[in-house]
Amino acid sequence: MNIQLTDIVKSFGMLRANDGISLSVAAGTIHGLLGENGAGKTTLMKVLSGYQPCDSGTIRVDDREVSFDSPEEAIAAGIGMLHQDPMDVPALSVLDNFALGHDRRLVLSRHRSQSDLARLCRRFGFELDPDALVGSLTVGERQQLEMVRLLALGVRTIILDEPTTGISAPQKVLLFETLRGLAAEGLSLIFVSHKLDDVEQLCSRATVLRDGRVAGEVLAPFDTDELVSLMFGQCLSEVGRSDIAPGEPMLEVADVSVRTHRLEITNINLAVRAGEVVGLAGLEGSGQGILMQTCAGLLRAHKGRIRLGGQDMSRSSYHQYLQAGVAHVPAARLEEGMVGGLTIREHVALAHQPTGLMVRWSEAEGNARERIDTYRVVGRPETPVASLSGGNQQRLLLALLPEHLKLLILEHPTRGLDIESTRWVWNRLHARRRHGTGLLYTSTDLDELVAHSDRIVVFSGGRMSAPVPAEDITCEELGYLIGGKGYDA
């Protein structure tokens, strides 16, 4: 099946996620789609698989123009997508999930579904127990289930969105074998990834996206340097770093392992000293978020020790972390950071360690005004925080932080902010360093990481690189590490 996308444009509000992307995939090939977070990969693939319509542009399948209003229509036309988070029904059995959408008659024929499932599993060497609950499967097994389900629906083009994230090494070998086999049978496969190794091993051709446009198209054998520079662009020159000498260790992470349902990080060692800024690089969901939540007491490490200012916190609760002087500023401001329906004044009242039974509203009002002034929030004390702009929400989050902190953890502190706000936020953060606060933060902006960190560590698929002094690292080296290359075995 030949797929041809021409001039696809898709905007979300002000953001042009896809800005005139063209791409063609030949039958019987595995086509890589590379790019950073936010480059437009997933948006493009959702357009192709019928999950969302594009604003303009055309899709041609075997030289026939098509348009899909739903995933069902795309599947009927032979295009199926394997999502990063499997879209199955965890409470149902493997067999029931397989039969979903597959058996279109009124009465399900379990017997026929069962033999279909067994046949497909045999063919690809998958070992799926039809009666197991999907919720109990590993990510890799759920992926296998989703793949045989799509194939049973007669799909001839499969889009795989970051399929190697969260699956085991043997599962990955099996997956690649399967994909090569399918390509040999004439199926078209689109392999969306940020992992350079995977793309180099598997794909015959790769398209690199950056900022919603095609940055380039490359044929195998690939030149890694070329891929990296296409993905990340050229780095700006370095910015003068501050001259604050780091002090005592504020955070010590020793041999920490944390398991979540998606990803596991193992044997992490890291220290953040007073006044030091440590930047965490890596594509989203590579493990840096897990480490930060663990350091804030929001996740519990099942192995290893965490010390704050010399005090062992390995078994402490989130509240104890708060009391010990740690703050975590989440990227999802209204989902996790603030309560959208409450006003600025109410947030200020809550942030002041409440004493006594009744709120002293006049005091809270004064405090709110003071913080609004100092942090230049565009809003009034009675403004609900949900109606503030993103930049003002970020300013308010910083305004609500306690004055003295040992460790300040920030997820994407300047995401979505304009240049002026970004500079302002960093001024504030550097001011806190001078008071001895250690900073740990993530960013997807390599320039920002290099400019503001003392040291940088990179995450890829749950692995952490050794910390590198920011002044010694180049964006290119960062790009390699983010793409999963250059780690110790």
């Binding site: 603030m338 309560v339 959208g340 329906g341 009242a349 809550l350």
Partner: protein, 346 residues
């Protein structure tokens, strides 16, 4: 009047008008004169001092339960278990009256405390099922309502049955020392009225001005953020259930000591469910609750009269109450949709 205010007034009156239209339609279908019937329904409750006292008596438990429900609603919890909490309060009260030997002057205060304690414990049980057992509070509350009703029947027909045999009319009457003093020979008890007023006023200020109220509001709006902000979400939810139970338990206790002077099988009388409608109709605002409670109670007192005078079934009052809540929610939903549509256009 500006256009905006007119619109707001329109939205406020629409549910009332829609309810009246529906009521007229039902009354016409039943072959009654709608004007006469509605007149009897709304004015009938005020024809004598005794009737007014009846309204006051009916308001007491409803106001207490609604006050409690305001607390759990603030924390974003659907506390369906108010009925059970009332029952628990009545059971504890009855137990105290039957089993504890105290001077007559201390008996009534003790029944009140027992009722509050019973309701609070029952509420805590629902809260614990929700926070530790991960049982949705709706199911926990509903399940425990049935358990409470069954427990009442067991006690009335078992250990607490009167010497001359168990009947649906309940236990033996309480001794006079356990009767709430009433105003004259009416059914209204001044102590009950006072407690209900204190209850709603305290809840109003608690939710408006206390740190606890602010925390509950944060939890109700977004419990994840609330947790991140350092609020103990579990503990405060438990406390909200307990506080609601305390007020509902008091209501149940007063039903036993002020109205029936005994424990009867359906001691909660559906008031717990009714209070939910009250709170929804008041838009979760404590200052509106007394008005709604007053209206509901007046309709309730007048309904039986309809049956006597116009041979209409007295359930028409309940139909009106429920219809008004539905229309209120419907109009509010419609208004929300119109506003979003407007924002999108802008």
């Amino acid at each position: 009047m500006t256009r905006e205010r007119l619109t707001r007034l329109g939205y406020a009156l629409a549910p009332v008008l829609l309810t009246l239209v529906l009521a007229c339609a039902i009354l016409l279908l039943a072959g009654a004169n709608p004007l006469q019937a509605l007149g009897a329904l709304f004015l009938g409750a005020f024809e004598s001092g005794r009737k007014v006292a009846d309204i006051a008596a009916a308001m007491v438990p409803l106001l207490l339960c609604a006050a409690g429900m305001l607390i759990t609603f603030a924390a974003g919890l659907w506390n369906i278990g108010v009925e059970g909490q009332m029952i628990a309060g009545a059971l504890m009260t009855t137990w105290v009256v039957r089993s504890i030997d105290v001077p007559a002057a201390l008996l009534l205060p003790l029944t009140i405390l027992a009722g509050m304690l019973g309701g609070a414990l029952w509420g805590l049980l629902i809260g614990a099922l929700r926070t530790y057992g991960r049982v949705n509070e709706i199911f926990a509350g509903l399940g425990l309502n049935y358990l409470g009703a069954a427990l009442t029947n067991y006690l009335i027909f078992g250990p607490w049955k009167p010497p001359d045999g168990a009947t649906m009319s309940g236990t033996e009457p309480f001794p006079k020392a356990a009767w709430m003093p009433t105003i004259g020979s009416t059914r209204a008890s001044w102590l009950g009225i006072l407690l209900a007023i204190v209850g709603i006023v305290v809840v109003y200020f608690l939710l408006r001005d206390s740190y606890w109220g602010l925390k509950l509001k944060a939890i109700g709006l977004n419990d994840r953020s609330a947790h991140r902000l350092g609020i103990d979400t579990r503990g405060n939810m438990l406390l909200a259930f307990a506080a609601c139970g305390l007020l509902a338990g008091l209501a149940g206790s007063l039903r036993a000591t002020a109205v029936y002077h005994r424990l009867i099988p359906s001691i909660s009388g559906g008031i717990g469910y009714l209070s939910q409608l009250v709170v929804l109709l008041s838009g979760l605002r404590a200052q509106i609750v007394p008005l709604v409670v007053f209206f509901f109670s007046a309709v309730q007192v007048a309904s039986p009269r309809l049956e006597l005078r116009m041979s209409l079934d007295s359930s028409i009052g309940g139909v009106l109450q429920s219809a008004m809540v539905l229309f209120f929610l419907l109009v509010r939903g419609f208004r929300g949709r119109m506003q979003t549509a407007q924002e999108v256009v802008e």
